[in-house]
């Protein structure tokens, strides 16, 4: 049983006119096996929260803490955070020209597991995971995310989730850009990982559709850089119906 604890997190980005505060004290605790949905208007800071936990250099932490089973996540380098068990499925996965998916996955698995996976079992493992996500095996030979369609990039993120088996996954709009079938396939992938490993999930989304597949235990409303309301799955339905007006009109 692990715990990811975010306390009073404040984050700024450097802009031409100085620092702009984006996160204004985020409190959130996620335990293994729990699924927390985060919903909120565009620009409210959801991706900023995700990136800050993963350690993106663009964001400056100005206050608060993030701990994983008590260990100071904010003091870790980006790769150390991944090794500690954090995984971020990005809203906009990055293209890495000239680096094949095969090479990338193997290098990542080697880093996370602390030893190179055995060639024979590894190839099978990757093939199987790709098959389960309905990905053509020729993706393995392509360069990381290069020329992938929006939906293909998202599947590739979940492929990594399946292979790297983190303790906590942050899924930043993994459902955006997926067609109806892909949404189901990707959601099943996430549920598979959860069933096998007691994964804790922070699921950032704009739509309740994905929540029919990946059932949240908690729903948080995110507005203007912090969590402004918390509830159960029923809160998502209310948001879908009424929008964020009551949280954004200050």
């Amino acid at each position: 049983m692990s715990t990811l604890e975010i306390k009073g997190l404040q984050v700024s980005v450097a802009t031409e006119s100085g620092f702009t505060e984006i996160l204004r004290g985020v409190d959130l605790t996620i335990k293994s096996g729990e699924t927390h949905a985060i919903m909120g208007p565009n620009g409210s800071g959801k991706s900023t929260l995700a990136y800050s936990i993963a350690g993106h250099p663009k964001y400056t932490i100005t206050g608060g803490s993030v701990t994983l089973d008590g260990a100071d996540v904010l003091a870790m380098s980006v790769d150390e955070r991944a090794k500690a068990g954090l995984f971020l499925a990005m809203q906009y996965p990055v293209e890495v020209p000239g680096v094949s998916v095969t090479n990338f996955l193997r290098t990542a698995a080697t880093a996370i597991r602390g030893e190179a996976p055995k060639v024979r079992t590894w190839v099978g493992e990757v093939k199987e995971a790709m098959k389960a996500l309905n990905m053509d095996t020729n993706f393995a030979e392509r360069n990381v995310n290069e020329g992938f369609s929006g939906g293909e990039k998202k599947r590739h993120e979940i492929l990594q989730l399946e292979l790297l088996k983190p303790k906590f996954a942050i899924l930043d709009e993994t459902d955006s850009g997926l067609d109806v079938d892909a949404l189901r396939i990707v959601s099943e992938g996430v549920n598979r990982v959860k069933a096998n490993s007691d994964l804790g999930i922070m699921l950032i989304t704009h739509y309740t559709r994905i929540l029919r597949y990946i059932k949240p235990d908690f729903v948080h409303v995110f507005a203007a850089g912090k969590i402004v309301e918390e509830g159960g799955p029923e809160l998502a339905d209310k948001l879908e119906e009424k929008g964020y007006a009551e949280y954004t009109t200050a």
């Binding site: 993963a54 350690g55 380098s77 790769d79 955070r81 991944a82 990005m90 990055v94 293209e95 990338f104």
Partner: protein, 361 residues
């Protein structure tokens, strides 16, 4: 030994052609008071049917092209013999021909090689430059109609080497010249990959990569002369620089003459600066004398490491230095992959890795 007959002036550095080059480091190659030793510096390591090598008196095999490059003029002046490699007409050379250097002393020398490709022949030739040298070097490629030549020039020189070279192709009707230039070694390398056409339907694909670390000066001056209608050219050079006073120069001159209707050309140079104190000069230059063309374009970018790529890889647990190596290998993979030789690919990538490690980039 030739006597010194030239009455040119050594460059001062103010000339357009020499303004980037550290002339103090050319090892006497351009010094009119120093004679260059003529050397037949090229040998074939893997003889192939359909390919011959003859050493010919320079007087019996004049250069095919005009050059105003001073290093080339100097080389031609002192050359006593020319190495002539011929690919027989209609022959398909299945295995790449490997050329190694011999007879290089590390004193100022001059060498000239002519490669003639017969009608409808197909060949890949790989020149492996290694060791120490101070060399003014000329290659001419004479591609007869319908022939295809892929010429790979690997500059894997040792640390002090100076190489001033010209690699000029004359491409006849429906012939294809593919050049892959890889420059990773040497103190000062200044190469002129140049192309002219002698028939329509001909094409040139000039690819290159260079990687400069501490104090290296690596200069590539390309010149594509679209002097014939309906010819096609592509130029794609990629460079990376790391360490103090690493300097690269890329000049891409493309001329589309008034008679060169139907020309299709595009040139690209991308540079990756891996540390402060390195400098990449990139000057694309496209001159167009006719509007009746298929297309003409150029692009040049010089940038730092893409932090987003590094972040993406690191967020998957990959340590920063391995992530950087992956990104750099990835940057060069497009060019290196074109050599289609795994042994050479690995050797080049390993060299790049170890040089990176040395400068701590």
């Amino acid at each position: 030994m030739s006597t010194l007959t030239t009455n040119y002036l050594a460059p001062t550095g103010r000339e357009e052609a020499w303004r980037f080059t550290p002339l103090a480091r050319v090892g006497g190659l351009l010094d009119s008071s120093i004679a260059l030793e003529s050397v037949n510096s090229v040998r074939i390591t893997n003889a192939q049917p359909g390919v011959t090598l003859n050493v010919v008196r320079a007087a019996d095999l004049a250069a095919l092209s005009i050059s105003d490059d001073l290093a080339t003029i100097r080389a031609r002046e002192f050359i006593e013999e020319v190495t002539h490699i011929q690919v027989a007409a209609n022959s398909q050379i299945s295995e790449p021909l490997i050329l190694e250097r011999i007879g290089l002393t590390g004193k100022p020398q001059a060498s000239r090689t002519l490669i003639s490709c017969g009608v409808n022949s197909h060949a890949t030739i790989i020149l492996h430059n290694s060791g120490e040298a101070i060399l003014a070097d000329e290659f001419e490629f004479d591609l007869a109609s319908g022939s295809t030549l892929t010429f790979v020039s690997l500059q894997e020189w040792s640390g002090k080497a100076v190489h001033l070279g010209r690699q000029h192709a004359i491409i006849a009707r429906d012939a294809t010249f593919n050049s892959i230039v890889v420059t990773v070694g040497g103190s000062l390398v200044r190469l002129l990959p140049t192309v002219e056409f002698s028939g329509p339907g001909s094409s040139a694909d000039l690819q290159g990569l260079y990687f400069a670390t501490d104090g290296q000066h690596l200069e590539h001056r390309l010149h594509v002369d679209h002097n014939f209608p309906n010819a096609k050219s592509r130029v794609n050079y990629k460079g990376a620089l790391a360490g103090d006073k690493a300097h690269t120069v890329w000049i891409g001159d493309v001329y589309i003459r008034s008679n060169a209707e139907g020309t299709d050309t595009y040139e690209l140079n991308r540079n990756l600066l891996l540390s402060d104190g390195a400098r990449a000069d990139s000057v694309p230059n496209l001159e167009i004398e006719t509007g009746e063309i298929v297309g003409a374009g150029h692009a040049s970018t010089t940038g730092r490491f893409d932090d987003e790529q590094l972040f993406y890889l690191s967020s998957r647990g990959i340590p920063a230095e391995i992530a950087r190596r992956l990104v750099i290998r990835g940057f060069f993979a497009e060019i290196v992959g074109k050599i289609k030789n795994e042994e050479i690919e690995n050797r080049l990538m390993d060299r790049i890795d170890s040089e990176l490690a040395k400068v701590g980039a």
